[in-house]
């Protein structure tokens, strides 16, 4: 084996070792502006790689407008659009601020976010609340009411309970949920229930006021996708320590803004390698078809980057009624993902494969060599601003991102 191959293998081994050793713990639920580094006043974070207002897709524009209205920085949709268009309200990618957000991914300063600390390495990651309206581009007052309830009631009640119990370890919940039919992206149903089970008692003990307590219990026990925000923050907190390892070809971020799909690679610093966001192969809610659909969007592919989501679809066949496909295809996807990953997880296991570990550490060299790109579970937003969720499906990361990254890798490490 030549010198560089050896260096890459060693660097990759170090990257997956760090991901394997991650110990994500929910330590707080706090206003984004108080905890996210670099999130300033009059700034909104968004999903995916950097994007300009003219190039931003309809759903993300709608969600940005919604965030501006939610912060009361504008009194109308037109005014909010003008402030964003003129750069008076700035926007930057979540991934540049240790954060992730589902779909449009918008995070504004007063939105409470999940704060997850990786106890092994001491780094923190943040994710916003998951809901099916504003983050899809719906800026109506009723959509924003969901954000207000999260800010004023649910997040406060959960925070009180959480701080009283001294944090909540997420690794055991994730590991258990993977044996209960979850893939922790589009299907975090078991994990959401386990989370709710863990928080009700502490909220009672912390003396949360009865009206807020009942409202919060109702929210967390009926919100099947609640845990997605936690699995995303846990994924980000777990993968971040694997960034910046010289010679590593492990993918440490996959994110989409509805215009572009971008990846980052451990040994290539903070550079994004992008391609057009792909169209989604999925199922639609009544009244909508693929003609209405925007392209793929969201930071939620951090779950696949961490080795969950589409990579463990074989163990979550219940999700197929939402995203389409057959159990045989789901098995084939997970087997295929082993061909493009470095190792198997030592923490997260798949009963369907005799409790072998989930595929872990996407190696961009293997993606280019095999022609197999990561499979991602995803939801579908409308192509225009102003709509809630319209469907869900499966999508493949575009090969072009990985080819660009490979070429840069060759350039950086002096291989022609």
């Amino acid at each position: 084996m030549n010198d560089i191959k050896q260096k890459i293998d060693m660097a990759n081994a170090e990257a997956v070792k760090r991901i394997n050793e991650a110990d994500p713990v929910l330590v707080d639920i706090a206003p984004a502006g108080e905890v996210i580094p670099g999130l300033k006043d009059r700034m909104v974070l968004h999903s995916g790689p950097p994007v300009t207002w003219p190039n931003m897709c309809g759903a993300q524009r709608g969600a940005m407008i919604g965030a501006v209205l939610f912060e009361n920085w504008a009194g109308s949709v037109d005014e909010a659009s003008r402030l964003l268009e003129n750069g008076i309200i700035r926007f930057e990618p979540n991934h540049h601020h240790q954060a992730v957000g589902p779909m449009a991914g918008t995070i504004s300063p007063s939105m409470p976010v999940w704060v997850v600390e990786n106890r092994t390495f001491g780094n923190r990651a943040f994710c916003r609340q998951v809901e099916g309206r504003q983050q899809f581009g719906d800026y109506s007052d009723s959509a924003l009411e969901g954000l207000r309830q999260w800010r004023d009631i649910w997040a406060l009640s959960l925070r009180k309970g959480l701080l009283g119990m001294g944090g909540l370890e997420l690794r055991p919940i994730i590991a258990k949920a993977l044996t209960m039919g979850d893939e922790l992206h589009n299907r975090p149903v078991a994990a959401s229930s386990l989370f709710a089970n863990g928080l009700v008692g502490p909220m009672l003990e912390a003396g949360v006021e009865k009206g807020h307590l009942l409202s919060t219990i109702n929210y967390i026990t009926k919100h099947e996708l609640l845990f997605l925000g936690l699995s995303m923050a846990a994924g980000k907190a777990s993968v971040d320590p694997a960034a910046g390892i010289e010679y590593s070809a492990v993918v440490i971020a996959m994110a989409r803004n509805g215009t572009e799909f971008g990846i980052r690679v451990s040994g290539l610093g903070e550079e994004w390698f992008t391609a057009s966001s792909p169209r989604i192969n999925g199922l639609y809610f009544p009244g909508y078809t693929e003609k209405d659909a925007g392209a793929d969007m969201g930071d939620s592919a951090i779950t696949e980057t961490a080795g969950w989501g589409g990579l463990v679809l074989a163990g979550a066949t219940g999700i197929l009624s939402l995203v389409g496909g057959t159990p045989e295809e789901a098995l084939a996807y997970s087997k295929e993902m082993r061909q493009i990953t470095v190792t198997m997880s030592s923490s997260y296991r798949m009963p369907v494969f005799g409790f072998q570990g989930a595929p872990l550490g996407i190696d961009m060299r293997k993606v280019v060599q095999t022609g197999i790109t990561p499979i991602i579970d995803t939801a579908i937003a409308h192509r225009n601003p102003g709509y809630s969720i319209i469907g869900a499906g499966l999508v493949r990361a575009p090969m072009e991102c990985f080819k660009k990254a490979l070429l840069r890798f060759g350039q950086k490490y002096g291989v022609k």
């Binding site: 560089i4 022609g371 080819k403 490979l406 070429l407």
Partner: protein, 57 residues
């Protein structure tokens, strides 16, 4: 004549198709037994990427 050759002449060949699935499908339609192997050239056949991968993987 060997038994294997007799068998081949009497029962016909079994085709192994590597790569493009449509070729396997066409033979199947004509009643030929086919074993299909999923395969595609590394890096989609791009010479620059293949050369790079030879050194990196």
């Amino acid at each position: 004549m060997s038994d294997k050759l007799k068998d081949l002449l009497q029962n016909g060949p079994i085709a192994i198709n590597i790569g493009i699935f449509d070729f396997a499908e066409t033979l199947k339609i004509q009643g030929v037994e086919v074993i299909h192997l999923n395969w595609s050239p590394p890096a989609g056949g791009d010479p620059e990427l293949i050369e790079l991968l030879d050194q990196l993987l």
